[in-house]
């Protein structure tokens, strides 16, 4: 099975191959109306997981609608929606162990919602306030959680993909039966990091799952200008890696595909590539306007394949969900998001000292000096620094507290 060189029979006329004869099918279980295709076997999704999965998808939709509106009202500098891709993200997350690592691109808040990131956690990051563990250093949507095994989002595209390969190699050595899921868009799959990651994962037999959300567009660039040929799934063949293409708007299919991918990764140390065929229903980000590069008609066609409605129908048919229950849930989630947002907006900004902490494990003397100069300057001109000056002394009290606890921080390596 494992070959390092071709064992194919020689031929005596030039034979070129471009892979066009290999068509990778799309694995799908649920029809757009939410009923099962004939021939789709029993789903292995259990009631509680199914409800948790759907709830996270609903939550993500509510969060996205609310925060997009907040951005339009000027309350938030930036936002990115998961809308349309919830099944690809949440379905895959549900198939993992909760302690498997997730290294996402940026619009995968559904994974965090599934794992229990609280509304307060979301809001504190979005508003970059004192409660944000990363101290308001990154743009909104750059979430991270060590507790929930979700690597802090990095803006540069695709950098997390080879990191996932490395992380998973460490998991393999640790022998605790975990894997890493790297999530990215089809645009990111053009970056060198993607190819480096797949090649290294396959050479070193690393328990990593690469999940490409093929959502049709990289900002305004359609897939037809992103790559020639049969999508991203086929690229795995060049690396002799297992690959599957799945209907990314079908949570059941994504769940089943990822479950099997996880088995291959953890039990057989086989990296797997999943290409989830989906569609970015919303704009790339709050700074983008898709009406400039794609038609309403196209969007409408995809709206009919909404992943939420599809899973809802399946759940209703099984008696695992009630429409009334959903109405109440959505209502209460909207209220929760709105109330928490109002509180987060009013929370203090991060302490001034967070400008210089976490650059190194300890603040180097030269940087400490730069900070002291800054503090002296802010004290001389408090009116020019309304965000930080009012809290200067309160921050020092916070720092004293933190110094007490930071003595143990060095021991916290995983």
């Amino acid at each position: 099975m494992k070959t390092t060189r071709s064992t194919a029979k020689p031929v005596h006329k030039p034979v070129f191959a471009n892979g066009d004869d290999i068509q990778i099918p799309v694995f799908t279980l649920l029809k757009p109306d939410g009923t099962l295709y004939a021939g789709a076997g029993q789903s292995s999704l259990e009631r509680d997981t199914a409800r948790r999965l759907y709830r996270a998808m609903l939550y993500t939709r509510v969060l996205d609608e609310r925060m997009m509106a907040a951005q339009r009202q000027g309350r938030l500098s930036f936002y990115m929606q998961c809308t349309g891709e919830e099944a690809a993200v949440v379905g895959a997350t549900a198939a993992l162990d909760d302690a498997d690592m997730i290294m996402a691109q940026y619009r995968e808040q559904g994974a965090l919602a599934y794992r229990g990131f609280t509304t307060e956690d979301f809001m504190d990051q979005l508003f970059g306030n004192q409660g944000d563990p990363a101290h308001g250093r990154q743009m909104p949507i750059h979430y991270g959680s060590r507790e929930l095994y979700y690597l802090t989002i990095s803006s540069p595209l695709a950098t997390q993909i080879p990191q996932a390969t490395g992380y998973a190699y460490g998991q393999k050595l640790a022998g605790q039966g975990h894997c890493t899921l790297a999530i990215f868009g089809e645009g990111a799959a053009s970056e060198g990091d993607f190819h480096a990651a797949l090649n290294m994962a396959s050479v070193h037999k690393v328990p990593v799952i690469f999940l490409c959300r093929n959502n049709g567009y990289a900002i305004s660039t359609p897939v037809t200008e992103q790559f020639a040929g049969d999508g991203v799934a086929a690229r795995a063949f060049g690396y002799r890696m297992q690959s599957i293409r799945v209907d990314g708007n079908d949570a059941l299919a994504v769940y089943e595909a990822t479950r099997e991918a996880r088995r291959l990764a953890v039990e057989e140390n086989e990296p797997v590539l999943i290409e989830a065929m989906t569609y970015r229903l919303a704009a790339h980000s709050s700074s983008d306007d898709p009406s400039g590069y794609r038609s309403k008609k196209e969007e409408e066609a995809w709206r009919k394949k909404d992943p939420l409605r599809r899973l809802q129908r399946w759940l209703l048919d099984r008696g695992w969900w009630e429409e009334d229950e959903e109405r109440e849930l959505v209502e209460s989630l909207r209220r929760e998001v709105l109330d928490t947002m109002k509180r987060a907006e009013k929370r203090r900004p991060p302490a001034l000292e967070t400008l210089v902490t976490d650059v190194y494990a300890e603040v180097p003397p030269a940087l400490r000096e730069q900070f002291d100069e800054l503090v002296a300057h802010v004290r001389r001109h408090p009116e020019a620094y309304p965000r930080s000056a009012p809290w200067l002394d309160a921050d020092q009290a916070d720092d004293a507290l933190r110094d007490d606890t930071s003595a143990h921080a060095g021991e916290a390596r995983p």
Binding site: M101, M103, D132, P133, A134, H135, R137, Q138, H142, G144, S145, R146, L151, T152, S154, P156, T159, I161, P162, Q163, A164, T165, G166, Y167, A168, Y169, G170, Q171, L173, A174, T180, G192, D193, H195, A196, A197, N199, M200, V203, H204, T354, T357, D358, V359, Y360, A361, E362, P364, P365, A366, L367, A409, G410, R413, P414
Partner: protein
């Protein structure tokens, strides 16, 4: 104590680190059975197995991306980039990822266990793409620690400290000294402090500052100067960033004069940073402008390497001019 060359000291440090901590892994291009193109990782695969010392595909961005992930997971990766000239495909993973992991996550995640080793510098007739000194590119990125040893004893102690540092470290090894520098190296596990310059010779009239292979050049220039009656204080910076301002400034406060020498081009070289900081710290004590002796603002040449390099004679002239100002 054993007599070792700089390569053997590096190999000994890696061996020591891998023996002491099973989380330490060494990988890169050709580092496995072959032991790396310079043999810095010789016998490590034999001793610690293919899981802990292995070849990677030829993909620098992949090597460092992989190493970042490993370090975030809690492993202690020591990644080799075959030549510092080839570190640039990994530039994004180093300056946007390694350097910022801790900051951007508020210490939820860090890659403190990461060390990137790379042979660097000229003097081996390596020509254009085997001789560069890229330390200044990385010095501009907060979050990185850049370390350069000057001899075998320093190499072992500093590399062990780098591997155990809570911050990611780029460790540039002066390849001209790999076999040329030989000295006594303790057999036991020891560490030398990072971020601390070392005064290797006390003097009164002028401070000479360098790192890596350039320290030896400056020492030769100092001998010429001593014969001319000039007393030189020599400092090895050892850690390029975050650098030891105190040690350099207190020396210049005493001598009133400073010559900084490095192989990298003049413009934007790290000597510029040192000169700016020291003039602001020591302005009223300076007897003459701070001099820089460096490579030219050109790519690195092959045939005219000796002319390009900041050799002892160039440094000696700078010392004389500084004294005569």
């Amino acid at each position: 104590m054993s007599r070792m060359n700089l390569l053997q000291a590096i190999n000994n440090a890696l061996d020591t680190a891998m023996a002491a901590d099973p989380r330490v892994l060494c990988f890169g291009e050709d580092v496995g059975v072959f032991g790396g193109v310079f043999r810095a990782t010789s016998h490590l695969q034999e001793k610690y197995g293919r899981e802990r010392c292995f070849n990677t595909p030829l993909v620098e961005q992949g090597i460092v991306g992989f190493a970042n992930g490993l370090a975030a997971q809690g492993s202690v990766p020591v990644a080799e980039i075959q030549f510092a000239d080839y570190i640039f495909p990994a530039f994004d993973q180093i300056v946007n990822e390694s350097a910022k992991f801790r900051y951007r996550s508020g210490s939820l995640f860090d890659v403190g266990g990461l060390t990137i080793r790379a042979p660097y510098g000229g003097g081996i007739a390596g020509g254009h793409y085997h001789s560069q000194s890229p330390e200044a590119y990385f010095a501009h990125t907060p979050g990185l620690t850049v370390v350069v040893p000057r001899n075998p004893h320093q190499a072992k102690g500093l590399l062990l400290a780098a591997i155990r540092s809570p911050d990611p470290v780029i460790f540039f090894e002066p390849k001209r000294l790999y076999r040329a520098a030989v000295g006594e190296v303790p057999d036991e596990d020891y560490q030398l402090p990072l971020r601390q310059a070392e005064v290797i010779k006390a003097g009164e009239d002028i401070t000479l500052l360098a790192w890596g292979a350039q320290v030896e050049v400056v020492e030769q220039a100092a001998e010429m100067a001593e014969e001319a009656g000039i007393s030189c204080e020599i400092i090895d910076l050892r850690t390029i960033v975050p650098w030891d301002v105190e040690t350099v400034a207190s020396s210049v406060l005493k001598t009133g004069r400073l010559v900084v020498s490095h192989e990298a081009p003049l413009t934007g070289g790290f000597a510029a940073e040192i000169a700016a900081t020291i003039q602001s710290r020591c302005f009223l004590y300076l007897e003459s402008p701070i001099a820089r002796v460096t490579g030219l603002d050109t790519p690195f040449p092959l045939t005219l390497e000796k002319e390009y390099m900041p050799g002892p004679l160039k440094v000696f002239e700078a010392i004389q001019q500084t004294m005569d100002f």
